[in-house]
């Protein structure tokens, strides 16, 4: 009851005209920033932070919270419409979102992304409201050994699940890990594979890599495989009415969104794991337990729903360690932490006692931000789907230019632009040879955290690998990995034995 009362008080604080306006502006800006390839919520919040210092702290944090949610919604748009994921979690969204666009169902993919983002975000915020401190302490139970085991589980499942050929999927995963070892790793402080180039000292930037491998390689594919929207009758299928989800489709995305909301939120509270792991594990779970799981990756709205609900719930989850313990769970939360400290607030266990107005105002503003973001996002869908009607003769040069500008704007570096171009050509040939690209990118994102956690775990145990078995969480995760690897083999042997028995009986 205390929590409900505090939440209602929070709503009383946050539901003023100026705060609602701030939420609307924040959500709108967030959608724009999130939709621009190369920019993400960290950039958006960093850009807006100085402006909010003039405001009342509660209004400021409401605006930033809404911007964060808006970015989460907008990040999926370029992934669905152009196959250019705006940020790492959107890589998973593009797996089903872009095929849906190619089938002329881009509007439905956008609606699904928005509605499941809303459901996932709401699940995440509700869990944060009622279990915030508990969630934060669960997150703390994940030490280096547990985090390493969790990321290893994600890596093992990536290769097996994405693409038609698991061997090629695993090779792509290995290549992603190898690319992530370029530069000075945080675990060792030693330059690797830099070949004396100062541009490689910080490693490869993720955004130019993802823009090249997904966006620019798509331009090369489009050069020959052109989709003529008029000839394929896409215009009739891209109207607002055709984009709305029917009852059957809504029924199919609700279980996926709720399940992914819970998974995403739990992963989001783990420092460093973040929205990418949240959206990917949600997608994996959907593929394993959801209806039509085997169809995921070929253009299913359930795939978009799982990914989007997972990453929005993870965004809410990352606030739990920030507010309860003062530990940011993601890059965006780290920027927000800076903002809170500049307002004179010290996030941590005492924040709930010393500044209850602010904390509950912030939590209630997340509900407000989520509602504003979904309203703004739904309102612009009719305009967004028109993008799909633009002919390839215009799309090819414009997307190519967006790829160049997006990859340059991350670090203001021409090296990144050339790298993006090379990555696009390499990805084009890999895709032509049926090597899936998504495992490579996801492995690239997860590897630095895996390497650091593995090193830290073995430092703690002084080189004793039994640390992974002594921890019940890590041991469970490692058992899951073993099952994951062995299950397909056992299933294959079982099916072969059954077929032999049947043949013997028939003879």
């Amino acid at each position: 009851m205390d929590i409900l009362q505090s939440l209602l008080q929070g709503f009383a604080t946050s539901l003023t005209f100026s705060n609602i306006l701030a939420a609307l502006v924040g959500a709108g800006l967030g959608i724009i920033v999130g939709a621009i390839p190369g920019l993400g919520s960290v950039t958006g919040i960093a850009l807006l932070l100085p402006l909010t210092f003039q405001m009342d702290p509660i209004t400021g944090i409401i605006m930033l919270g809404a911007l964060y949610y808006g970015c989460m919604y907008g990040g999926s748009y370029s992934a669905i419409l152009l196959n250019i994921p705006g940020d790492a979690p959107a890589v998973v969204t593009s797996l089903d979102g872009y095929p849906l666009s190619q089938q002329g169902r881009g509007g439905k993919a956008l609606f699904t992304a928005n509605i499941s983002s809303f459901i996932g975000g709401t699940v995440g915020i509700i869990m944060l409201t009622f279990m915030g401190p508990i969630l934060a302490y669960v997150g703390l139970m994940f030490g280096p050994a547990e985090v390493a085991a969790l990321i290893l589980l994600a890596l093992c499942s990536i290769g097996w699940l994405l693409g038609d050929n698991p061997v090629k999927g695993l090779i792509s995963t290995f290549i992603g890990v190898m690319l992530a070892t370029i530069g000075i790793g945080t675990a060792f402080g030693q330059p690797r594979f830099t070949f004396d180039s100062m541009y490689l000292l910080n490693g490869i930037s993720f955004i130019p890599l993802v823009i090249g491998m997904f966006g620019f390689s798509q331009v090369l594919v489009m050069m020959v495989n052109r989709i003529d929207p008029a000839a394929q009758g896409l215009s009739s299928r891209l109207g607002l009415k055709a984009s709305l989800l029917n009852r059957k489709e809504i029924r199919s995305i609700i279980p996926a969104s709720l399940r992914s909301g819970v998974i995403g939120n739990l992963v989001g509270i783990l420092p460093g794991a973040g929205a990418t792991t949240g959206s990917f594990l949600s997608y994996v779970l959907q593929k394993k337990v959801g209806r039509n799981g085997s169809e995921l990756g070929k253009g299913r709205i359930e795939g978009v729903a799982a990914s989007e609900a997972g990453n929005n719930a993870a965004a809410a989850g990352s606030f739990a360690p920030l507010l309860s313990l003062g530990i940011p769970g993601s890059g965006t939360a780290a920027v927000l932490l800076g903002g809170l400290m500049m307002w004179g607030l010290q996030p941590g266990p005492l924040l709930f006692q010393t500044n209850p107005d602010f904390v509950w105002g912030l939590i209630s503003s997340m509900y407000l931000g989520n509602v504003m973001a979904v309203l703004a996002a739904l309102a612009i869908i009719p305009f967004l789907v028109k993008l799909l009607l633009i002919p390839a003769s215009i799309m090819i040069p414009v997307i190519a230019v967006v790829c160049v500008v997006g990859s340059y704007s991350v670090n203001n570096s021409m090296f990144d632009v050339w790298f993006m171009l090379g990555a696009g050509v390499v990805a084009f040939f890999m895709t032509a040879a049926h090597y899936p690209i998504a495992p490579l990118l996801l492995a690239f994102v997860l590897t630095p955290r895996l390497e650091t956690s593995l090193r830290q775990a073995l430092d703690i145990s002084r080189g004793d690998p039994m640390i992974f078995l002594r921890s019940p969480i890590a041991a469970t995760l490692l058992t899951l990995i073993l099952l994951f690897v062995l299950f397909p083999l056992v299933k294959k042997l079982f099916v072969a034995a059954r077929q032999r028995r049947r043949r013997a009986t028939a003879e």
């Binding site: 190898m178 790793g185 049926h434 090597y435």
Partner: protein, 157 residues
């Protein structure tokens, strides 16, 4: 990423499939070699800087070898025409020190639409100019991205 083209002839499929796999094997072996010989695999009771490159490089090379032995030459149809945008964009990027980012990208759109897509010059200029304007306003003015100006602007001013 969906990129399913029509199946090409077996010879071309063989070359694309085997060349890509061989390149990945070579990369894996290079990573494993550097990891083993240069960076150190195990040090101070834990994995060294070369541990991941060695394990992952060997993994990629071994699986790549297995893939070659399976002799499944599956690849989509690709041709030199697919690489035109990369070549044209490479030339456009090379002109950025002269024209600056916004002008070079505007010229790329205009030239591509007019010369490759055979659109009218007026339409090409309108779309190229519009796209350049949006990029300048969004990235240059609002997000304050410091685009390269190009030597031409310096000479003119």
């Amino acid at each position: 990423m969906s990129n399913v083209n029509k199946p090409s002839d077996l010879g071309r499929q063989f070359w694309i499939s085997s060349l890509v796999t061989l390149s990945l094997i070579a990369m894996g072996l290079a990573w494993a070699g550097f990891g083993w010989l240069k960076y150190g695999v195990w040090m101070h009771n834990g994995p060294g800087a070369g541990f991941f490159p060695l394990v992952m490089g060997l993994g990629a090379a071994l699986l790549g070898g297995y893939e070659l032995l399976r002799r499944r030459w599956i690849a989509d149809q690709v041709g030199l025409r697919n690489l035109w945008p990369a070549v044209a964009m490479g030339i456009a990027i090379a002109t950025i020190p002269l024209f600056g980012m916004v002008l070079a990208m505007t010229l790329f759109i205009v030239m591509w639409m007019a010369l490759v897509e055979h659109q009218s010059w007026l339409k090409s200029i309108l779309i190229g100019g519009g796209a350049g304007g949006v990029i300048y306003l969004l990235f240059g003015m609002w997000l304050m991205v410091a685009f390269p100006q190009g030597a031409l602007i310096g000479w003119l001013s």
